[in-house]
């Protein structure tokens, strides 16, 4: 950035970016919602929004890493279900909660490692592997709990999921803040984060520059499985009961949050800040729709539409920009030709 630019023009440049556009959308949604419910913007309500979807947005953070790396993990919601079901099943078999919690996390590590093996070691596309495990993990979750619902966890476990832990913040929200800081530090300021971007931009270039591509991918998928498992456990604690279909279909919201945040589905670009903004948008939009008495099904449809638009709009603007550039070039060259002919 050059020094002669004044502060206002820097701000203007920022606002013209995708993040600026997201901010505008967010403000519009909040204004709309506030007109529907006057005390909408209160801190209590905003925090409530986060708490009601905290599991999704925790997973969205790690999903951003995966998609920037030009991969995708469709199995996260099933992993959330599987870890919660593991916890509930072990508990119903008489295991103490701490042991069951550890087992749930371990399942996440193992499941992530399983995905990583096929993707990084064997070289299968992550789309297929995680699609297969979207069904597979969910299937194992159903095998564990069949059609039962298991609840009646110890009071301290439910309290941990539902009540504030420090000040007004419950454990899940504290963990989310922690993850946000870790994600920003890792992605923007560490060597590992640079590797994630480089691999996403071009796998070949990364390999030729000596980046251990497979190791980075392995770490990311194990992390994805583990974070998803943790989110599943938090969800179980917040709900106080677990069924086989816990977190079913969450991948739609999670992937929408990441892509709407300006992370390119083709990898290599995007930022955590954009993802945070789009998380706010999705949360506020869903809440606003609830305020306007729009049913959950329609909300899901709107999120689906948003997912498509979040990739379509950047594509279209790119096409239009390329077309304008081409025309400008053509005009310039035709002018040059005229001048040449005049000179001749």
């Amino acid at each position: 950035m050059s020094h002669d630019k004044n502060f206002l023009s820097v701000v203007w440049d920022k606002l013209k970016s995708w993040e600026g556009f997201l901010l505008l959308v967010l403000i519009l949604i909040i204004i709309g919602n506030t007109s529907l419910a006057p005390n909408y913007l209160s801190i209590g309500n905003q925090m409530n929004l986060f708490i009601l979807s905290i599991e999704k947005i925790i997973v969205a953070l790690i999903m951003a890493f995966i998609i920037i790396n030009a991969e995708i993990d469709l199995s996260v919601s099933s992993m959330m279900g599987l870890s919660a079901c593991t916890l509930a099943w072990l508990y119903s078999q008489g295991a103490p909660i701490p042991v069951a919690l550890l087992a749930g996390l371990l399942i996440g590590v193992l499941g992530g490692a399983f995905n990583a093996f096929w993707i990084a070691k064997v070289g299968l596309p992550s789309l297929v592997v995680t699609l297969a495990m979207l069904i597979g993990f969910r299937g194992f979750a159903r095998v564990l709990l069949e059609d039962k619902s298991i609840g009646d966890f110890p009071v301290w476990f439910d309290t941990l999921g539902q009540q504030p832990l420090v000040g007004p913040f419950p454990l899940a929200l504290l963990l989310f803040f922690l993850f946000v800081i870790a994600a920003i530090l890792l992605l923007e300021y560490s060597g590992f984060g640079r590797y994630v971007y480089v691999i996403g931009n071009s796998r070949e270039v990364a390999e030729y520059s000596g980046v251990k591509v497979n190791r980075v991918k392995t770490i990311l998928f194990i992390a994805s499985g583990t974070v998803a498992a943790l989110a599943g456990l938090l969800f179980a604690a917040r709900l106080g009961a677990v069924r086989g279909d816990l977190a079913l279909g969450f991948e739609l919201d999670i992937i929408t949050m990441v892509l709407l945040g300006g992370v390119s589905i083709f990898g290599g670009s995007g930022s955590i800040y954009g993802v945070l903004l789009s998380i706010m948008i999705v949360l506020n939009l869903r809440n606003g729709m609830s305020l306007a008495n729009i049913t959950g099904h329609v909300q899901t449809g709107v999120i689906g539409m948003l997912l498509i638009l979040s990739v379509l709009v950047p594509n279209m603007t790119q096409t239009v920009r390329a077309y304008l550039d081409r025309r400008r070039l053509a005009e310039a060259s035709s002018k040059n030709n005229e001048q040449l002919s005049v000179n001749n």
């Binding site: 297929v128 297969a132 069904i135 597979g136 299937g139 739609l252 099904h297 899901t300």
Partner: protein, 355 residues
């Protein structure tokens, strides 16, 4: 060995393996479940396979072009409900018009996917993950949480699933199965012989080369999605005929089964390889296992989903590891063979040179 290798392609070996697998699965369950090999069970499975297979044929067309369609389950559900509702409102609609309406609605939904993927350049996984939710929402909104019930439908469609083309002893060859066989034959012929079919392979195996060769890539991909939607619409009609009662969850999960059938049947998820016959075999294998597990007392039927997921992974991994080796082997032996041919012709020609 060489003569054998000339006669068979790796893809045919895979299909042979699938047939053997299906037979082994059937023999295994026959020893486990009483009355397993009864005509009733055959009829039930053949009708159930028919619906999955028709969707899977459409899925295969899309997968061939290196794309994927996750919205087919919602398309099946929506067309089944939409057509069922029209029929319930007006019992007089001609059967052919009903079928055409189902195909048309499906094709329109497929066209929506196709426009976004081919012309909007949005990855298929994103588009169809979105429309999976969107089309289901349309169904929920349109239905207003009402159900299409069998008694409101005209008699011909209620009798349709039991309509036979012919039957051997008690083994019925149902009309729905006939539709499936027709779809399989038509689309296998299209893939093998029509320019459009060959271009699907070309685009899937190398999109850049296809573009350089001057193929209208966007249009070809677009029509693959339209055809997939149309076939899902047809399957929606078959779904309506088979079940009669249509709720908002109709067709849920078919997208995963259709992907599984295509992939288990040998369609390469990276495009460019796969046959309709293979897809049919994949659909049969998956559905036989699925239907048998429901009746098998030894393990809980909740294993169905877990097994389906593992089967997809296994099929893809086997495709990647084994098929690549086989194709290598074939390519090498072909090289040897052509070299031999060249040498033979050279030795034959040599006397002439001397003279």
């Amino acid at each position: 060995m060489n003569a054998l290798m000339r006669r068979f392609r790796p893809e045919q070996i895979r299909e042979l393996v699938l047939v053997v697998l299906i037979i082994m699965v059937i023999i295994f369950f026959a020893t486990q479940i009483e009355n397993y090999l009864s005509p009733r069970f055959f009829n039930r499975i053949s009708t159930s396979v028919a619906i999955i297979a028709v969707v899977a044929v459409g899925q295969t067309l899309v997968v061939l072009t290196r794309n994927i369609d996750l919205s087919v389950g919602s398309i099946v559900g929506f067309t089944a409900y939409f057509v069922g509702q029209q029929l319930a409102d007006n019992n007089e609609i001609a059967p052919l018009a009903v079928v055409l309406m189902a195909i048309g609605v499906g094709a329109a939904m497929g066209a929506f996917n196709g426009v976004l993927v081919a012309y909007g350049r949005v990855p298929a996984i994103i588009v169809t993950l979105g429309t999976l939710a969107l089309f289901r929402t349309m169904l929920v909104e349109y239905s207003d949480a009402q159900t299409v019930i069998t008694s409101s439908l005209p008699a011909w469609i209620i009798d349709l699933p039991r309509a036979n083309i012919f039957s051997i002893d008690k083994l019925d060859f149902r009309l729905l199965v006939g539709i499936m066989v027709a779809v399989v034959i038509i689309f296998q012929l299209m893939l093998s012989y029509l320019p459009y079919g060959r271009r699907l392979y070309a685009i899937g195996s190398n999109p850049d080369a296809a573009k350089v060769a001057g193929f209208p890539s966007q249009r070809i991909v677009f029509f693959a999605f339209v055809l997939c939607g149309a076939l899902s619409g047809l399957a929606g009609f078959m779904f309506l005929a088979r079940f009669g009662n249509i709720t908002v969850v109709a067709g849920l999960g078919i997208e995963l089964k259709s992907v599984a059938a295509a992939v288990v049947g040998g369609a390469n998820i990276n495009g460019g390889a796969g046959t309709i016959i293979g897809t049919l075999l994949g659909a049969i294998l998956i559905d036989v296992i699925d239907n048998s597990l429901i009746r098998w007392a030894e393990i809980s039927q909740f294993w169905r989903e877990a097994l389906l997921g593992l089967m997809i992974l296994l099929a893809v991994a086997a495709d990647f590891v084994i098929m690549n080796r086989l194709r290598d082997l074939w390519a090498r032996s072909e090289l040897q063979m052509t070299q031999q041919d060249v040498e033979e012709t050279q030795t034959q020609e040599e006397p002439g040179h001397v003279a």
